[in-house]
Symmetry: C2
Subunit: 347 residues, 2 copies
């Protein structure tokens, strides 16, 4: 506990004294509430004279008046809210930068971006909760929004819903972030390097299966199209060194010659374990990760990786602007991610 200083005396607002309203400002300035509104929102040019204008501003300042967003948007019938519904998985630098970028861009466009963790049971119940806020747009960066949920949102006045999801969710614009491309890119590279028995490091954490499952599927798809002889083996890993050691022995038993890590982090863990188990990278096993982390370049051999790039926040904000402006338009789809394989010494 800190000692109570004098300046702390007034640290609380007396609940008996409610926050000042525009009516209070009007009273103090000796004008009508409408005038206050005109001044504070400087509506319609020279509606109000310079003298009263000054009086109003002074009064507002003296009272510490702050408009009530709820009342305002109730009256206006719309909020500038854009709900950004994030995924539950721990986000790396890629996504955290993307979110920041996107928020900035939306802010510049006059919206009020709000980040929301996925509510428990992200189905229609969540959609209802979001709809209560009467957002202008909803960007759902995690799959799971149902057509029913979209209907609820649109019915409640949301002008545009953009969501991930395969297949595209009826009624919503489609954001596409095809994780299978990541696996496909890695697999193609490994096949090109002559590898035929490919292990795929899969996080044991079920929350990550959202990302890992499609990446595995991408590997599978490419392997199958490569004809017979190509084998794909999923290898669970729970992000500990012990688990990685087991994975390495498993790798040897299965005589795998290629390894795709779900992630650079998982790939790094796996590569280290392989080396500790006496396997040569890349001679006996080639390793590829994903994310292109700088840290992965510290390993020897340096880790090959699938680099992902996300759309700029500005582009996405522009898209939001467009679909909000014309809610009647046909559903749009936008690919958020491009992948590129960066080959280094590990493969």
């Amino acid at each position: 506990m800190r000692t109570v200083m004098d300046s702390d005396r007034a640290h609380h607002a007396d609940p008996a004294v409610p926050p000042p309203t525009s009516a209070d400002v009007a009273r103090l300035a000796g004008v009508s509430r409408a005038t206050v509104s005109f001044v504070l929102n400087n509506t319609a040019g020279g509606r109000v004279g310079e003298r009263t204008r000054a009086k109003v501003l002074a009064a507002a300042d003296q009272l510490g008046y702050v408009p009530h967003a709820a009342a305002r948007s109730l009256r206006a019938g719309r909020t500038g809210l854009v709900l950004l519904v994030g995924s539950a998985v721990p986000i790396g630098p890629l996504f955290s930068g993307f979110y920041r970028d996107l928020q900035d861009a939306l802010h510049r466009h006059g919206y009020t971006p709000v980040l929301l963790g996925p509510t428990a049971g992200s189905g229609e119940a969540a959609a209802r909760a979001w709809a209560e806020l009467r957002p202008t747009a909803v960007l759902c960066l995690t799959p799971g929004l149902t057509p029913g949920g979209v209907r609820i949102l649109l019915r409640s006045g949301t002008r545009a819903v953009l969501t991930l999801g395969t297949p595209p969710v009826a009624g919503a614009h489609a954001l596409i972030m095809d994780q299978s491309e990541v696996g496909a890119s890695a697999a193609a590279h490994l096949l090109e390097r002559g590898r035929r028995r490919i292990g795929v490091v899969m996080p044991a954490d079920p929350a990550l299966s959202l990302f890992s499952a499609p990446r595995l599927a991408g590997v599978r798809a490419v392997a199958e199209s490569a004809g017979a002889g190509a084998v794909v083996e999923p290898l669970p890993l729970d992000y500990t060194e012990e688990s990685a050691a087991e994975l390495a022995t498993r790798c040897r038993e299965l005589t795998l010659d290629g390894l795709f890590g779900y992630n650079d982090e998982y790939a790094m863990l796996a590569q280290r374990a392989l080396q500790d188990a006496g396997l040569d990278v890349p001679r006996s096993v080639a390793v590829v990760g994903a994310d292109d982390l700088l840290l992965a370049r510290l390993l020897r051999p340096r880790l090959s990786s699938v680099r992902m790039r996300l759309t700029s926040g500005e582009e996405l904000a522009d898209l939001v602007d467009r679909v909000v402006a014309d809610p009647e338009s046909a559903p749009v789809d936008r690919d958020l991610m491009t992948v590129q394989l960066i080959a280094r010494e590990s493969s």
Copy 2:
């Protein structure tokens, strides 16, 4: 562009048809609006009979009625909003877990947590913007909130403001996350290992100085208290391999024998560069990082690190509950972080 399917026909809500209100529900059910409100909020036990109750629910469901949060909180005079103002620096797994945890806990306590990036010019202007939302509480996890900003918030009805900041901000409860302890812990360890010429890896990114500056200060404080002979040398690093190589040569020129990395990531980069430059770790230079990342254990020698633990979200949510319940109480302060040095082979 996706082909327009039949089910997409109704993908937009006709703007001419406004979202249904409780009045619409009342009309459809053939009851008064008050009854609708009683049913939907199931107020006061058996106010309304089973038959009409069912009718109301059916009507609400049929119309897809969703209450209007703004109107509701306008009437109620309070929102359950808790603003979580995050910092601008890219967050690692530690903080991202903390935020998630905190959001869950607040949700369980009946609040509506909302994550906000720090608005540009996080001064009184930001406070005003936050105050417009009439939040019940504001948790500012980044310094920069001024006493004036706190006054604005409290004046506008916010029942509790908790913020980081040294010294504590007048009027607000104090959240303490003393980054200097991180540096202090590392420095104490290095001194104990007999190192006297300590380099501190400092991120070149100015946004990170929020964290790095106090950590450096912590190192300095401990070094000074250790008496003469202890030298502290800040070493800029911009998170590239080239920059790390320069840092290594700088290290050699200065004949440093200990290195504290701002971060495990920065420390890993530095350690690798030292080794590439032919310096032995830990014999000639001992290295300590911070964050205790699993990845840092993959290096050889494995990286020593300062492990940080943050308060559980539940504890913090409890605190919020308490200070919200009694806004008149004296300012509380709460330490959010504890540090612990994990010694490994790199030091």
